[in-house]
Subunit: 161 residues, 2 copies
Amino acid sequence: MANQPSEHRSLLADARLHGLRITAQRRLLFELIQGAQEHLDAAGLLRLAQQRLPSIHRATVYRTLDLLKRHRLIDELDLMHLNGEKHYYEAKTGSDHFHLACLICGRIEESTSPLFEQLKEEIVRQGFDVEVARLEIGGRCPACRARAVGPEGGEKPSPCP
Amino acid sequence: MANQPSEHRSLLADARLHGLRITAQRRLLFELIQGAQEHLDAAGLLRLAQQRLPSIHRATVYRTLDLLKRHRLIDELDLMHLNGEKHYYEAKTGSDHFHLACLICGRIEESTSPLFEQLKEEIVRQGFDVEVARLEIGGRCPACRARAVGPEGGEKPSPCP
DNA sequence: GGCTAGACGCGACTGAGTCGCATGATTTCA
DNA sequence: TGAAATCATGCGACTCAGTCGCGTCTAGCC
């Protein structure tokens, strides 16, 4: 795990550490990414940013996301493509978590497990230097599962919505 | 793990089981996806398909990929976005594996681990019905790691190519 | 062999993402 | 502190993957 941002540092501080130039636009974007209640895609981030800084341009958002990706300060997710081919971004927290995406209701949960850590360690022991680990699970959340289960139980969700 | 295609069945046979209509175009696409030496994206699949059936149309490829996704007969991967935002497809083999993507040389390796299975089982025990599990690891493969390590060892790959 | 639902090819369309350039802001160093 | 150099931004044109509706064709079924 080389170059992991430290646990409680902000995206802004991390960006400074990486020698990135801090502009008003970047400051705003960092804030939005870090403060987001849910996972943001590029278009959503642009929309939010333009509410507070109407002059900010699409290209700036894409460039900033690209920069953060290259510096490994954010993770790019696709969350099982629940909403088409969009990509979602989140600030790296330092503690690796994975995502549980409910294919029925669309809810995304974050989770951690010692087994996930062990798995990464195992891969490192086998000689592969793990830098990013992205695990996305698609299926049915407990609520949708309870709702869907008939008397015989265990019905699979319809594959063709 | 509901609705997993059985271990040694072909995409064609699975498609039949799902009641899909078998056309010459689909037969070709199934063959290409299953026989591919490396992971294919939509554009690559279209190119290969047109070599053998020049009249096949882009829209048919996208429609077929979409169909297979909805029936969970193929997996969609992004392989750590090594090559931009492309998505890659692979036939489900029944045995779940994960991908190790080298961020230096771009090689993709497939791997399995009992820990991966245990992790999925743990998630199921917690009430989440796992249908698809996608794990992608980005980092340095053993070869690139050996090549990059200087006398002091453990240099991280440059984040800005 | 004939019927019908569903698949195909076509081509126009959409919209996310990229690029080069001129201008403006940030950082550095005297 | 102020000037110079460097880098980021906004702009607008552009590209190209992916989608859509339509008319035609074909697989699957009787």
